[in-house]
Structures are given as C-alpha cells and as structure tokens.
Subunit: 547 residues, 2 copies
C-alpha cells in the first residue's frame, strides 16, 4: 500500500525557491572577479536564476540533459548559473582551473559540454584551449557589458548580464524526476584519465539536508557561511545547497584566497562559519600572526577537510581564536561529505585531551551515510580504533558508477563504494584514515600503515621528507622501506632514524631498511608519488634477502 | 539524463539502523506502564525491533500492507513496535485513548486493523470494545509474562515479550519502495467521521530531517529529548524519527503526564529538549510554583504546540527558568509540523518586545514546507502581517488525500492543502493563525477574526467565557454577535463589554450585539462548539434588522 502524501520532488531549485521566499532579505556578499564587493540577497538571486534559465533555454538551447561547464570562482553569479541551469534539467559540469590543459580538454570533450560559463580571468585560457574543444558552441563570460573584453578570439562570446537581461524573472521551472542529473564533477585520479561523478537533484538535496544537521555543520538562518572551498570542489562541500536550505547568509570570496583577502571577507561579512582546506587556513593564520592586532570575533566554527589537518592548525583556531574546528572527510564520489569529527554525546563526556585525540580523526557519519571497514576478502572488521581495513561507504549521495560507466571496480556489487582508503573506526564511532589502500604495506597477512611510519619519521630531527613503501620480501610478501630526504646540512644517519622510530610503533612495523635520497617524486597536486617511488626501487632487495 | 548515485530509499528502519549503529550506547529512559523506570539504548532497540519484526511476520502474519493498531503510551516498547512493524512494510495505526468508544470502533473497522498492540492499562477498554471489532484477530499486550493479566476475555491475547523472544535479532529488513505506507493517524474532525492520514516511509523520513534542522528543533546527539506529546499525536511531532536521525537520547514519559511525574523524568533524564501541548506545560509550571525549591537546570528548550500557547506560559519558561520556548503549529495532515517560531536572522536583530510579538505567532516554515494565504477565490494575499486569508500548505510531508479517498474538498487540484485555518503572514515570514475558516465572520466582503474579538472580550473584568459568531445580516452578509458567560457573581453589562472592546479593534469589527448566556456549548475536546452556537442563535435577528 502506498502512502497518501503529496508528491514533492527533491529538486535543487526548490531549495533556492525556499530561500528566496522565506529568507528573501538574507544577504549574499561576494568579492567580484572584476574587483569590487557585490551585495545581493536570496530573493534577487531567485529572480535572476529564473531569468538566466529562461534566457539560456531560448538563446543557448539548454534543456533537459544538456551539459554545460563552468570555470568560475565562488560568486553570486556562479550560484545563479548553478540554480538556473540545474533548474532546467540541464547539467553543470564544474571545471577546476588548476587542472592541466590536457586534462581540461579531455574532460570537456568527454562530458560533451555544449557551452562554457567562465569568469573573466579565464578568457585567455580558453582562447588557447578552444581549438581542442570542437563541440563547445560558445562561451558565456560572467560579467557585464562594461567589463567584456574589447576583443576576444573566443568562439561565440556571450556577455552574461546581457543574456540574463533577456530572460524572464517569472520563468516557471519545468517538472522532471528528482533522479535527473544536475551536476558533474571529475575526480583527478592519480592513475588513468579523470572520471566523472554525476550528481542527481535528489542526491544534492539529501546531501544538503544531511550536512545541515546538528552533528554535521549545524547550520541555521543566524549563520553567515563562507565557502572558501570552491564550488568546483564537489558542491563546495554541500554549502551551495545547505546554506539556502538553512537560510544562512553567504559570503563568497571570489578569486582571492590569500590570508589578507580572506580576513577582509570574514570581517566585512561577519562570517560565523567557514569551510576550507588546511593550506588556506594556514595562510589565514599566518596573516593573523603577522598582524597581531587582528582577531576573529565573529568566526565561531570552521570546517577543515580535503586533506588531513595538522594538529597545529586546529589548536591555533581553538586555543588562540576561540573558533571551533570540525575536521571533515569526503570524496568527490560522496558529494563530497562522508564524515565530520563533531563532538558526539559520548565524546562530550571525555577529558579534553582524550577528546582531542578523537577530534583529530576524520569523524563520524551523519544519517544517510553508512561506513564499514573490511579485510581484502570483504569480511567486516571490528570498530576498536586499532584494526584497520578498507573503508567502504554507502549512502544517499554516494556514486554508484562513474560517468559513462568507467572505473567499475570501485563499485561493489553489494552496494558499497570502496573509497580506496584504509581506516580504523574506534568505539566512539570516529573514523581515522590511516593510508591509501594501494600504499598500505602487507606484511605476513597483516597491514602496516605507510603514513604512520612517515609521520613518525618526520618527527626526527634532520628529516625533511619521508616516504614508506612496501617492497617484495621472500618471506613476508612485503616489508617497509623508508625513503628519507635529509634537511639541508643535516647529517642524520639511518641508525638515528631507526632509533627515533623504536617505541613509536610495533616492532614488526619498523622499516627493514632506511635509505637516503636527494628528492622524492611528487604528483601534480604535490602529493608523494608512491607509484614513481616503487618504480624507482623496482630492483631494490632488502639486506639479507639475496641477489 | 539520470544521475549516477546509489539507490538509498528513505525508509524509516534506516533511521533506526543508523542510530543503532552510530549512536548505539545512547540511552533511552522510559517510565514503564507497569511502574518502574526502564533503561535501554539504540543498539538494543535495534535488535529488539528486528526480533519483533521477525516474530510478527511469522506468528501474526504481518507483512507488506498489513494494518495493525497501537494504543500505547510513549515507551521504548511502543518505539520497537513502530520500527519493527513499519520495517516489514506494514502500517501502524495509532489510536488515541481519549476518543469515544464509538469513534474507536469506527476507525479500527475503517482502517481494517488486524491486530492491536495495547498497553496493560487498556485491557479493560478492549474487553468491552472487542465485540464491535469483528475483524481484529487478536491483541498483543505490551508487557512481560509476569505482568500479563491472570485472565482476560480478550480474543487471542499475546504477551509482547514472549512474542519478541521468539524473533530473530538478525532479521533482514525486506526491500520495498520508499513511498510505501507506514503510519495511519485519524483526525478527530469536528464534523463527520474521523478521516485517516496515511504517512509513507519517505514522508516520515523527510519530515524527521526537516524537524531536525537548525531553524526547526535543531537537534543533535548532545540533546536528550522528551516527547511528552504522545506518539498517537501524529508521530510525536516527528520526534519518534527526528531523535534517532540526530542520535539524540530519549526520555519516554509513559502514562504519567502530571506535573510531578514530568518533573521527575526531566530531572532523572537530564532532559535538554521537550515537546508538549500548553495544558501539560501548565501542569508542570504549577508543580514548580508549588515547590519553589525545584528548578529546571537541564531543560534548554521546549516546543509548545497543539493549540495556541498563552503568553504567560511562554514567559514563565523564558523569564523564570531560562528555558527557551518554540511555539509550533501543525496538523495531522502535515505529519504534523508546519511552522515553528524560531528566531530567524532578521528577527534576531529586533528589540526584545518586538521579537516577543513574533515569538507568540505560529512561526515560519522550514525547508520542504511552503505556505500561502489566499482569498476565497484563491488569489494570493500579501505577507503584511495584517491581511488574513485561507492558509494553504504544501510539502514533502503533507497529505494529498485522506485514507480511502474521503474528504477531498480540502485537497485542491493545484497541489495545495487547505488547512481550514485563517492566518496572516508578516514581512518577517511569521504566520499567525487568526481563526478557523468556518468561524471567520464575513462582513461586506471583508473578514473579521472571531478569535480576536473573543480574546479582547476575555480581557474584560467579569467575563468568564466569550464566543463571537457571524450571523446573517441583510446589508453586510454577516455581522458579529458576541456571546458572553459572566463570571459567578459578576454583573457586567453589554455596554461595559462594548466599551472595553472599543480601541482594541477596528470600529467595523465591533460586535453588532452582545448577549449573555449561562453556558456556551463545547465539543468533546473542550473547544467552543460554534456549530452548536450558530444553531442555537439560528432565529436571532440583529437590532434594527426587522422581524
């Protein structure tokens, strides 16, 4: 028997309509790409998104299933494009300007983007790139007539404000199924071509609801939220949806993410809640250290994610600025939020330093996410904070496949997505990423975390950088080799590093050998390239294992 | 194009599984119907709900689409029955023990309930009633063997704990569509037979999410929530779902709702958040007044709804106990929450007394509810806080029809549900119920609120009770007649009442006549029966309008 409740499709334009109707006067402050600050509100954003939809439908031919791309910073216009285009049933493919040009061409062609909406700053990039993008019909430049380039080689350049002025602010949104695709974001895979994650209206709305909950971001209409994390990083960690769901005010930092610029926006906007990766927060904290008269009176909470956050950054916020820090973890494939280290009921009863040991982990899953750790055979492992296994997730906003069916191996038949991470889960429910699955060292059937060896080694005086990799061993399958770069002028020896490690880990975790190199290879995004490192040590043999 | 996200049906047993898995040790404290306190947690509740599902499927024949009823107070067992039965795809029909026996028979037969799960206290009621319930197969008594009645005339009496002990705690939930019905609640209509509202899994999960949001109940795992409002009052205002969604601890007050008993549970459970109707809170406040050594150190917030809350109750909580009050409004047809007078961003900037004038209203709709006011022809009316019109709502947890297709007139073709209330909405978005649509007085095309005249009259010394009704008028269609009951011994005159009203309302709102009666008729639930009153004054003519 079916319930007798109203049909209420979870489509993202309902989020905007709610904010426009019930939080209409709530401000949206942006730093524009042209330079000046710009102020608007949800009521106006709603009208302009409808106008953009109407004009894009008529003049650009956008409709159900059309894919367009954006390369834009976080501004009110980027939000208008999202809601206006998604509300047509078309799909917004967000482009990360930090990608290599060859990757950009690949994903734009792979996604079959028909139009690209770009900030002024990216005009030269696409003038150079457009010949490799034969299917792109043209470019909408997110500015007004006064700021349009005097001349451009771009194919079919359209001025955004002129396009929008041609639209109908009373445009009625078309009706379609809530499982309709609305967003596309490619993961920058370390191996192989980037793979697309295709979000649906339903998954984005449910993810926005999930992230608004009390044990997630706990947003309300009294909050002023600054997503420093770009909208091209998987939905700005939900904020493009969760802020209007909650009626929170928005401060959009535009293109300038240096410490001084962020500080200015935090203060001008009286931001109470902000989200960014650790390196961005480090820039802000350095700016505050260099300008000791500055403080953060409005900023109550920050979310830090994207990579594991150093304890020093978290302590600086909490202890020097009375700003709470929420460590979070996610993946593009998870829309992206998977867990947040929010203080749970049980954690609230712990002494402060014990709580800090949990706060530094990647956190707990809110409702609509579930996670588990398993061994290589898929058997569940205990949540004891020690045993580590492959981290698998499922949920309302987790991908079931990549765009065009690529990379199926991560998607298990049993409905769980294999994150490729290795993690522990403690008895308080806090998950801790200990390694990437492909980097974990498998010694005699047991797993050794390469990251934990590296972190221990980095604490040794004279060590600049360290990488632990598993190499073949005749008896134990694999054993750890530690590769170390000395600090300039340091004369540290292998024995000294080994002595430093003893006592910090189980004896059988200790590297079988420690070697020094001048340089460790890195990926384009600055991470250690263990693939290259294993390649370089392909012919290495551990002492005493022959030939 | 469809998104490529996992299939994650919004079914209520996923809520329980989340709480059992990630908030397993979080306590659920109940006052049992047998008397003693009972302590359990979400992990145990999850196991027992699965065991109940398994045993109910095998021994009672419950499955997809079966309707069963419960008549039970708020305890851990009632929660187990809800989740266990709903998780089978069967439907829980909650019975209000305060209904007349004839109404109970009607709705049990109308719903085609197959089994009735009852608290011990209701055994005599059903012994008397069962002969009028030929289709009910038997009764599950929510107790253990030790407390089972020594003998009972009940048809097929089953001991709940014995049934449950026969179940499998590892029972796997069946898969079904999220739009499957899971709950049935009848409205106690003032005219005609009660009508059933059939909730779906999806509507209950979305309603639970909505109510957890920051501008609704703002729940978190640090909260301890006491739903004083019974589970048979439309999902205990969502708390049966929103508390486990948020991982909040639960305190279930069982059958004793007097001030002393509630105070005991608030203190024992360290309740931080509670929900009840005004009369229940009044009993608690009286108990506190009579025992001045008592205080409410843990209680941070209460939700008050079910009927308009007198200002004195709200002030007592806020000013004497430092407990914030959230005035809420809803209907069984809305699952039931429609609006909450939570402080919005704009309201936070108002001076305290201006904020109080908003706080006393019924509040604002969270995301997934929309509302509007219209005139009789369906034209939208302005949100100016003055104009009042028919209040219409739509949303993810709003009914689109009554059970078995009855009472269609409230369900408009355009997707909006006509609440039958008349309301204003102010420019801060706060909705204020001013009357029932059938009681509003229509004078010369303009509307007069009967309730506002009554409230003004009640402030007049010597007036015990007052009712304003619209009666036919040859020139104005209708004009207000004010019917007054004097306080014992009072000698107030019609002129004195009229003088009291002047200045409190527009001149054209003043009643055309004021008459005194010994008694005003009431409905079974204690409200003024305007239907009876209009009937009694059927032959009345206003002074100067002839015959």
């Amino acid at each position: 028997m079916q319930g007798l409740m109203q049909d209420f499709p979870l489509v993202v334009h309902r989020v905007l309509e709610h904010a426009a109707r019930w939080h209409g006067q709530t401000p949206i402050l942006s730093r524009s790409v042209e330079g000046p600050l710009h102020r608007t509100n949800y009521a106006t954003l709603g009208r302009r998104a409808r106008a953009l939809a109407s004009a894009s439908e008529r003049r650009l031919g956008l409709g159900l299933g059309t894919v367009i791309a954006t390369m834009a910073w976080n501004t009110w216009r980027h939000l208008e494009v999202w809601y206006g285009v998604m509300g047509l049933g078309a799909i917004v493919h967000t482009l990360n300007p930090r990608l290599f040009e060859s990757q950009l061409s690949y994903i734009i062609n792979h996604a079959e983007d028909q139009w690209i909406f770009i900030d002024l700053s990216f005009v030269p990039l696409f003038e150079a790139l457009q010949d490799s993008l034969p299917r792109v019909k043209g470019f909408v430049i997110l500015t007004d007539e006064a700021h349009m380039p005097a001349s451009t080689r771009l194919r079919n350049p359209v001025c955004y404000e002129t396009l929008l002025a041609d639209g109908d602010e009373a445009h009625a949104w078309p009706e379609f199924d809530e499982n309709t695709a609305c967003g596309l974001c490619y993961t920058s895979g370390t191996t192989g071509n980037p793979k697309g994650v295709l979000y649906s209206h339903r998954s984005n709305v449910l993810h926005g609801l999930m992230c608004s909950l009390g044990d997630a971001m706990a947003l309300s209409s009294r909050d002023t939220v600054m997503p420093v994390v770009p909208m091209f990083h998987a939905n700005a960690w939900s904020i493009a949806f969760s802020a209007p769901i909650s009626g929170a005010a928005l401060v959009m930092p535009g293109p300038r993410l240096d410490g001084a610029s962020l500080y200015e926006m935090l203060e001008l906007g009286k931001v109470s809640f902000a989200a960014a990766v650790p390196t961005v927060w480090l820039m802000l904290l350095r700016h505050l250290e260099q300008n000791t008269s500055l403080s953060l009176p409005h900023l109550k909470r920050v979310v830090i994610g994207g990579s594991a956050c150093p304890e020093a950054i978290m302590r600086a916020f909490v202890e020097h600025h009375d700003t709470d820090v929420i460590h979070a973890w996610g993946m593009t494939e998870m829309s992206p939020i998977g867990s947040l280290a929010v203080m749970s009921r049980q954690a609230a009863e712990l002494p402060p330093e014990k709580w800090w040991s949990l706060k530094l982990k990647q956190g707990r899953p809110p409702f609509m996410i579930d996670m588990k750790i398993t061994d290589d055979d898929g058997n569940n492992l205990p949540h004891d904070g020690k045993t580590f296994g492959r981290l698998k997730v499922r949920g309302a906003a987790v991908a079931r496949s990549y765009f065009k069916g690529e990379g199926q191996s991560a998607f298990e038949g049993d409905g769980w997505f294999d994150t490729g991470d290795v993690a522990t889960i403690d008895d308080y429910g806090y998950m801790h990423i200990t390694d990437r699955a492909k980097d974990v060292i498998k010694s005699g059937g047991e797993w050794i975390s390469s990251i934990m060896i590296e972190n221990a080694a980095l604490g040794c005086e004279g060590v600049q950088e360290a990488a632990a990799i598993g190499l073949p061993h005749p008896k134990w399958d694999e054993r750890p080799l530690l590769v170390v770069v000395r600090k300039p002028g340091a004369e540290i020896t292998a024995d000294a590093v080994r002595q430093h490690l003893v006592g910090q880990m189980a004896k059988w975790w200790l590297p079988d050998d420690i070697v020094f190199v001048d340089e460790i290879p890195h990926t384009a995004t600055g991470k250690i390239s263990k693939l290259d490192l294993r390649q370089r040590f392909r012919d290495y043999r551990f002492p005493g294992t022959g030939s």
